[in-house]
């Protein structure tokens, strides 16, 4: 291999390593220094921390009475909003058109964030937060589309997690004496189910089917007893 070619290869490699791990942003031929903390790995770690905290807080819905739910959600909201700093930082680092090259690095955190946002909305207003609304909540701007976006697949994964969590909540709400919640959940889940049946050929479908049946059967006994 001639030395020019080898140098070229190393420039491309360094640029990718730089984006992934090292502070500073790389262009094809030169490195522009930017402030510390602006690398994908670091941002993903931050994102992960935030979404873990969110999961931790929202786990308490199973032991929170409905009158105190609103106060619990208020503690989750600032953390959800703080995800905007992370998404803005990621949009800054990812080079134009390279969204899909890097997105796997933060998919898990993003799905948890979708889950948290949609769960909070359901508990507050009983509605399903749309994809655009989740993106807005997380501060993801439409003009970043080729660098940072909320893909349909990640939104749907988040919604599936929501449904799973609600099937658990239906049981636990009854334990806490809330007999209305299971019926509300049942109706809501049926609506979401109708939505998912629009995208049947999706790979995630199996996951839905597997989690759905217990969700439905668990709701029946309380509603039948009323």
């Amino acid at each position: 291999m001639d030395s020019d070619n080898l140098e070229k290869i190393n420039i491309i490699l360094d640029a990718d390593v730089e984006i992934r791990e090292v502070s500073g942003i790389a262009t094809e031929t030169e490195f522009l220094p930017i402030p510390d903390g602006q690398k994908i790995k670091e941002q993903v770690t931050e994102f992960d921390k935030k979404t873990r905290t969110l999961s931790g807080i929202l786990n308490r819905i199973h032991s929170t009475r409905s009158e105190k739910m609103s106060a619990l959600l208020d503690t989750a909201r600032p953390i959800l909003e703080s995800c905007r700093e992370t998404t803005a930082a990621l949009a800054d680092i990812v080079p134009p058109h390279q969204f899909w090259k890097w997105k796997d690095m933060w998919s898990n955190s993003l799905r948890t964030a979708v889950f948290a946002a949609t769960l909070a909305e359901y508990l507050q207003d009983g509605a399903l937060l749309s994809l655009q609304q989740v993106a807005e909540t997380l501060g993801i701007k439409p003009e970043w589309q080729d660098r940072l976006a909320l893909p349909v697949e990640d939104y749907l994964h988040g919604v599936i997690n929501l449904v799973n969590e609600l099937s658990r909540l239906a049981v636990n709400a009854v334990t806490l004496g809330d007999f209305d919640q299971p019926i509300k959940i049942s109706l809501f889940v049926k609506d979401v189910f109708a939505g998912f049946s629009m995208v049947v050929h999706l790979a995630v479908w199996d996951t839905v089917l597997l989690t759905w049946i217990p969700a439905e059967s668990q709701e029946r006994p309380p509603s039948a007893s009323i």
Binding site: N5, K8, V199
Partner: protein, 274 residues
């Protein structure tokens, strides 16, 4: 923007998801199909190159044979390049990285064929920029970015072709020198790739295939040297003797087959069809 409160609004939103997912899947299918077509054409081209450098029993000048092969390759390469040009719209903007894995088998096979033709013509390794320029329009604007991984994996496969080329050449007049050139070339390739393996898992796997190819060429070169020292004879007679020895070895080993079989690409291709 409002939340989805009723079943019709939820269903409507999910219908849009379906459209987006259908669009993605349709494009994916089209790209996989194009990638297969490109792979097929590239394979045919590689066979054509092998045929061209071995079929002429009279012509012994390497330069002439190499240039002849490269000239014949031009048309086929242009045909493949036009298939790539047609993918431009499908891979525009952020779509390239969304679909990169769908086309990479075709890209790699093309680079294998291209780099082989390039070697026969110039006796050098084609550079990243040269490959990218063959995948660009007349104004030098790329159809899509060349992924470094595809470039390197395509080159890793070139070493297998060179091994076949060297072994086929060794029995021909002047072929021993050629085999020795190829041997040092492949050795240099292997050394260059070694430093890059930490970055690419697939390349690490291909390194072992490259090592096998190299060993085969080295063994053949060794056999030639041993025979030369054993028999004090003119080069022409030696050529004949080498030809005999190798044809026996070929019947026995079926050399050149292993690395083809070991290549996991087609298998990966199926695996990606999820």
């Amino acid at each position: 923007m409002t939340s989805l409160v009723s079943r019709p609004s939820i269903v409507h939103a999910f219908e849009q998801f379906r459209e987006e997912l259908d669009d993605y899947n349709d494009r994916r299918e089209r790209l996989i199909k194009s990638s297969r077509d490109i792979t097929n054409l590239s394979k045919k081209l590689i066979f054509l190159l092998h045929r061209t450098v071995t079929e002429d029993a009279i012509e012994t000048d390497d330069r002439v044979l190499g240039l002849r092969a490269a000239a014949r390759a031009k048309g086929k390469l242009a045909e493949i390049q036009s298939l790539f040009a047609a993918l431009r719209g499908e891979l525009a903007g952020d779509r390239f990285w969304h679909h990169q894995r769908n086309i990479s088998p075709g890209v790699q096979e093309y680079i294998e064929a291209l780099s082989f033709a390039h070697y026969l013509e110039h006796r050098t390794l084609i550079t990243y920029d040269q490959v990218q320029s063959t995948l660009s329009d007349a104004d030098g604007i790329p159809f899509f970015p060349l992924s470094l991984e595809d470039y390197l994996l395509g080159l890793a496969d070139l070493t297998g072709e060179l091994m076949r080329f060297a072994i086929a050449a060794i029995s021909r007049r002047g072929g021993r020198q050629k085999a020795s050139d190829v041997c040092s070339f492949v050795r240099a390739c292997k050394a260059d790739f070694e430093g890059l393996t930490p970055h690419f898992k697939e390349l690490r796997k291909k390194q072992s295939v490259t090592a096998q190819s190299l060993e085969k060429i080295e063994d053949a070169a060794y056999a030639v040297v041993v025979r030369t020292s054993e028999y004090d004879m003119p080069p022409e007679l030696l050529d004949d003797l080498v030809a005999q020895t190798l044809s026996r070895a070929a019947d026995h080993n079926g050399f050149g087959e292993e690395s083809r079989r070991k290549r996991p690409r087609e298998f990966d291709y199926e695996m990606n069809d999820d």
